[in-house]
Structure formats: C-alpha cells, structure tokens
C-alpha cells in the first residue's frame, strides 16, 4: 500500500468516525496526496542519485544479507532499502559518502581475495558474502550500513525505501488508520465478551 492509499484509507476512516473537518476539502486533499504519491514513486523508480550502478548493486547485496528475505517474506533488498541509502547519502547523510565509497571498495577487495576473479562482493554466493561480513562486522562501515538498512526498510516509503510497506509487512504490522478490538490473542476473549 502506498502512502497515497494509506492517506485515502485514513480519510475514509475519518469520515466514518464523524470527523467533520475531513469532508471539508476532501478533493483538494486527495489531489495533493496524489501529487505527492507520484513524486515519491517517481523518486523510487529513478536510478540512483549518488551511488554508481555498481555501488548500488553491492550495497543492495549487503542489505540483503543484513535483513534477508526468509520464509516467503520480503527482506531489505525487496523493500528497496538501498534507495533510501542512496537518497540519504545525497542529502542529509552526505558526510558518510567517503565511508561508503571506501567500505564498498574494501568489500570488493575482500571478495576477490576469497574468490579469485570475483567481479564484486555482489557476485559471491550468499554463504561467502556472510563470511566476508563476519570479518567486517565491527567496522564503522558495516555498522552504518546496518543502521541504514534498518531505517531504509522500516521508515515511511516517502523516505525512499520500505517500498509498498514491505518492511512493515515483514513485521506483521498492518498499516491501517482504524482497528477494532479484539486486537491480539490475549484480549480476544474479554473483548468478545464486552
């Protein structure tokens, strides 16, 4: 679900709840949301802004090992965390550009040391990528990518990642503006009684 759909759902819930203000200029709001939504998806669909295509591939591979797709659920790569990372490095996280550039180059050197002739870290099989990661786990580069992978997977899609709220689906977090009791397993009985 895109932000646009979530906001529509919110407005619908607001009207249902009797929030008089929500109906006032619904169409105007929907227009604004539609525009914002186009802008956001255009930004995601576009190619990278800061990292090169080769760097994007390597960072994406790394995000995929930090938060892999398991048990049929999407992971960081499917959620497009790398697009968040790319946008952040071009804007508020520009100070970490050298850390990323050097970290990516180091990853490739380590990949080539492991498998002679390997094209890049991204070309290694997952098990060998994990071996490389275990040797750099404590580095500032890996810690930065881990943080950025998490933010890129779970921050609102408007920040560039968490495509279609895949990160939230991974957690079992439904993004709705309205729920009704019962909410979970342990309150089911008492809330059905009430």
């Amino acid at each position: 679900m895109t932000d646009f759909h979530a906001r529509r759902a919110f407005l619908k819930a607001a009207v249902a709840a009797g929030a008089a203000w929500a109906t006032a200029d619904l169409f105007e709001v929907e227009d604004a949301l539609a525009f914002a939504s186009q802008q956001a998806s255009a930004a995601v669909a576009a190619q990278s802004r800061t990292l090169t295509a080769a760097q994007m591939e390597i960072v994406s591979a790394l995000t995929s090992r930090i938060l892999p797709a398991v048990d049929g659920r999407p992971g960081a790569a499917e959620a497009g965390a790398v697009y968040f990372i790319d946008r952040a490095l071009g804007t508020f996280n520009a100070a970490q550009q050298p850390l990323y550039t050097e970290g990516i180059a180091d990853l490739n050197r380590r990949a080539q040391a492991k498998v002679a002739g390997a094209a890049s870290f991204a070309a290694l099989p997952a098990a060998q990528q994990d071996e490389v990661i275990r040797n750099i786990e404590a580095t500032p580069f890996f810690q930065a990518v881990r943080l950025d992978t998490i933010v890129g997977t779970f921050a609102l899609p408007s920040w560039g990642g968490n495509r279609d709220y895949m990160g939230w689906h991974l957690l079992g977090l439904e993004h709705q503006m309205s729920f009704q009791a019962p909410f979970g397993y342990y309150d089911a009985e008492v809330n059905r009684r009430n």
Partner: protein
C-alpha cells in the same frame, strides 16, 4: 467547518492586548481559553509552525531521528553536563514539541492526578536531607476542582482505581478497550496480589463534545492524532480560545525577551517572526507557558540592569530544581501475538507502589503500565533481547516473529528536586537567532535510581507472573534524555525560595505570570500532564479574577 477556519482575532503589533501568552501547549492553550472566554484579548506566541490534521503522519524516522515537530538541535541546541565541575558538551538531552499545541500535541495521553500525599510529602516524611524537597503551597483539596474541570473540559477515559484520591465527579468517559498487554499485566499483577486498574487517558473512548472516539490506529506516542480523539490543547482548547474572536494564535514566533518598563512592570515581549525579523507584542500582562526548559531560559535571557540575575529571579531559584521523572522499561516476549501496534499505548497499570514507603530505605514511588514498546525502526535496532542475532536469517526471523509478540512494562518514577540539577545559560553557545542557549546540569539522585530499580524489579515479577517466555531490561543508570521538564520556576509562598506564588504570579513582577511544568514543586509519579492542566485551569481563573478586580 474546521475550527482553524473560524474567524480568529488578528492584532497589530501596535495594539496593546490584555495578555500575551508565550507557548501554546498544555498550559498555554488552557490559559488562553480561560482568559479569552472571560472577555480578555489574548495573543499566544508559539515558536513552532501550525499544522493541521491533514499534515500529520506516522513518520518514525522523521520524528525520532530527523527532529520533525520537536526542538531542533541544529538551530536551537543546548549543552549538557552531569556536574557543575564539568564543561558542558553540546548534546540533545531535552525534547519538547515544537508546533502549535506544544508537547501536549504529541503526548501519549496518560492523565494521572497527583494524590493528597504528593502535596505535603516533605513535612510528612520529615524532608530528605541534601535535597530541595518541600511541600506545595497548595493542597490536593484546593486543586481537586481543577483536576475535575480538566477531565471534563478536555475529555478523559478511565475509571477510579483502588488507590485513587477523592474525586468530585466520575470520569466523563469509560476506559478504552483493554489490549493484550493490559490483560497480561492484569494476569501477572493479580498473581502477585497487586491491584491493576484501567489506564486513565486523555483519549476519547466514545464521541465526546463533537470529537470522535479513538480509531485505534496505534500511533499515539510522539505523534499527533489525525482524528482529534486525543484531548489536547491543540484539539480542544485553542479552537475554543480562537472561537471567542478575542484570541490570536501566532505561530513561527520565537520569543527573545520579556520587556519591562521603568516602573518594573512587564510591557510585552520581543520575538522573531518566521523571517527572523524582530517584532514586539505589547500587552498589559505576560503569561509564560514555554515549558520547564524554555521558561527559565526566557527569564534568564530577559536580564536587565533592574533584574541583573534574570527576570523574576531575585530568589536565584529560576532554572533550579529541574526534574525529569525516571522512566525505564522492562521488555517481555509472549507465545502468541499481542499486536501492540494497534490502539492506544497502554490500557492497564499498577499503582500499588505509588507512595513513598520509608521501609524501602529510599524516597520515591511510581507506577507501572503495560505498553506498546517500540515502533518498527526502534524495534529492529533494539527490540530483541541481548544476544539475539543482529543481522542475517536469524535476525530477520526473530524480527518477523517477535514484533507482534513483544510488549513493555513502563516504570514511571519520581525525581527529587535538587538545586544542582538545573538550567543556566551556556557561557558561549548561541542559537540561530543569536540568543544564549541553555546549559543543562543533571544527574538522577541515588534514591531516584533505587526507586527505578525497585519498580523495574516489580515489573519483571509481573512479566514472569503473566507467563512471559523472555523478560529483559536495560540497566538502570542516570538518565540523559528527558521529555518531562519540571520544577525550574517552582511555586511557593516565600519569595526568597520560589519564583511564583500560589496563583502563578511571579514574586518580583506583578503583571508577569508563569504556569507550566516549571511551576511544579515535586515531580509527580511520572505523569505530570494532568497536574499541569489542572494548575493551568486554576491559574487562568485566578488571573482573570485579578484582571477583573484591577489587581494586575
């Protein structure tokens, strides 16, 4: 029609209004409503922007990590140290809401009364040596009508618990529906012989005064409510104030100084508008409701030859006795999904440990509630127990399995008032407007930490009693982050030891009033908002009476 499109008063800078109020949060909004409905002209100056419900979002990254809607450490930083001997370093320790509605606009909704014992603890306990613990100049009985007024005018859901103080009216709304975390807290607490009760929340459990019931979207903590189901100054008080046609709420107005005339009376304030142009709002009286960090800063920044220590600071007490409340969490995982991401943050709590018990060997008390622990980013960063994988398949599997199965027990405790915990002006650091920044000196008193450990111990027992599969918590250490900013312009009868009198009038300046968290003499048991609200209703009524009688 949306309240913000009602005709609201607009004053010119050449107008002398009856009152200028600095700050639009819990206290400022209520006092604006009280004074404007009493017939006075009012300008409310708010440093932050005015946002409408349509601009609210559920942006955890923006709010927690990029400073959306809170004080901005880039343009208005402060410095921090734990002791006066240290050189303070730039660091964000204080967090408050920076928008029309203040911190109250994004608060969680916890709405606890203080008890009679909170008002005279010092004399009952014989004081606590080495601290500034004193009695309030008010009793619970004097404030009770205003607690009731706050609950009914704003809108509060709850039901009386076994230890509640006397009340003159029931809660206006029944409690919100219990969540799984609340059922589990009840189970664990009852197994230990404790007395769980519904949480008292300033959130509608049904339609109330034209505002809808909570829709259970799950984003209360530090987010504003799109439905106006949260009973805040922003949703309730400011629209009533503006609806009088006598009140103007002026956003993007960053107050620099309270101005004082040659007769020693306040004449208004100077402030920077959104384009950083210096403006002046003249007024017959000034009410400062800027929170426990910005209120003392404004007084200290308003020093003059007549008031060299800062305005209203002949006592030297402005900025002192800063109190944060202690807050620590005990985390727990359960077998089945709780889905704590739905609905309000907490629905059940235990107040058995509220009172100070000298047998424990330390001052303090508090409450334990059952709550949604962490939003997605924070959960992924620190929501799993120590020793859990931090990357890889195991990490992904645990996040996916545990997010819906994890909850927290929030432990809310007291802070002793200490002269050495305070706000002063930093000797060198200036904000983006050229004004001196705050320097915060703070460390929790040993009793506060003992009390926090005591509460965390009971929360751990409750979690085990509820059948948790895993229970863990971070160590209890001195706090370095605060959202409750209390005590820095304390109320008292003696002008030598307090800043405002029992009616919130400053001892030194007859037409300067202060009401917000800074007025508090003791810290409450960790949920000060209802007390701030009750104080504001009481202050508003008395200030209007003084004005009517020509006593300002």
């Amino acid at each position: 029609m949306a309240p913000q499109s009602r005709p609201s008063a607009r004053f010119r800078s050449s107008d002398v209004v009856d009152f200028v109020i600095v700050g639009s949060g819990a206290a400022g909004g209520i006092i604006a409503k009280e004074l404007s409905t009493a017939g006075h002209t009012v300008v409310v100056l708010e440093q932050g922007p005015r946002l409408s419900e349509r601009q609210f979002d559920h942006d955890e990254f923006g709010t927690f990590m990029r400073g959306h809607n809170i004080n901005d450490p880039a343009t208005q930083p402060h410095t921090f140290r734990t002791k006066p001997q240290e050189t303070a370093q730039r660091r964000q320790v204080l967090v408050y809401g920076r928008l029309v509605g203040g911190s109250n606009a994004h608060f969680t909704g916890n709405f606890w009364r203080m008890r009679p014992s909170d008002f005279n603890e010092a004399s009952r306990l014989g004081g606590v040596p080495g601290t500034g613990l004193v009695d309030w100049p008010l009793t619970y009985e004097e404030l009770e009508p205003y607690y009731t007024k706050a609950e009914w005018e704003l809108g509060v859901s709850g039901e009386p618990g076994p230890f509640d103080p006397p009340r003159s009216r029931p809660y206006p709304m029944p409690p919100l529906p219990v969540k799984s975390s609340g059922v589990l807290l009840e189970r664990g607490a009852r197994a230990l012989g404790l007395h769980p009760q519904p949480s008292q929340m300033a959130i509608n459990s049904r339609t109330y005064n034209g505002r809808p019931a909570c829709q259970h979207c799950g984003f209360c903590l530090i987010f504003m409510c799109e439905f106006r189901a949260k009973s805040t100054s922003m949703a309730v008080m400011l629209p009533l104030a503006e609806g009088t046609g006598r009140c103007e709420v002026r956003p993007d107005s960053y107050v620099a100084q309270v101005e004082v005339g040659p007769n020693g009376r306040a004449t208004g304030v100077t402030y920077f508008d959104g384009q950083k142009r210096m403006q002046r709002q003249r007024a017959r009286a000034v009410v400062v409701c800027a929170n426990g960090s910005e209120t003392p800063r404004l007084l200290l920044n308003s020093a003059s030859s007549r008031f060299p220590q800062g305005l209203a600071n002949s006592s030297g007490v402005v900025g002192k006795y800063l109190m944060f409340n202690t807050y620590f969490e005990v985390n727990a995982q359960f077998e089945q999904p709780l889905n704590e991401f739905k609905s309000v943050q907490n629905t059940r709590m235990v107040l058995d440990f509220y009172e100070t018990d000298p047998k424990r060997g330390f001052y303090g008390g508090g409450g334990i509630d059952a709550r949604f622990g962490k939003y997605p980013i924070t959960f992924a960063l620190e929501g799993l127990p120590r020793g859990a994988p931090t990357w890889g398949e195991g990490f992904a599997r645990q996040l996916a399995h545990q997010f819906t199965r994890t909850m927290a027990f929030g432990c809310h405790g007291t802070s002793l008032p200490l002269e050495t915990n305070n706000i002063t002006l930093d000797p060198t650091l200036k904000d983006a407007w050229g004004l001196p920044c705050n320097r915060v000196t703070y460390t929790d008193h040993p009793d506060d930490l003992k009390n926090a450990k005591f509460l965390a111990g009971h929360a751990t027992d409750i979690a085990h009693g509820a059948g948790a599969l895993a229970v863990w918590s971070a160590p209890v250490i001195a706090q370095t982050l605060a959202v409750h900013l209390l005590g820095t312009c304390r109320m008292g009868n003696d002008p030598r030891t307090s800043v405002v009198d029992r009616y919130h009038r400053t001892h030194d300046v007859r037409n300067l009033f202060i009401c917000d968290g800074s007025s508090m003499v003791t810290s409450s048991r960790g949920q000060p908002t209802e007390t701030i609200s009750a104080l504001a209703f009481r202050a508003g009524e008395h200030i209007a009476d003084f004005a009517k009688r020509g006593e300002i």
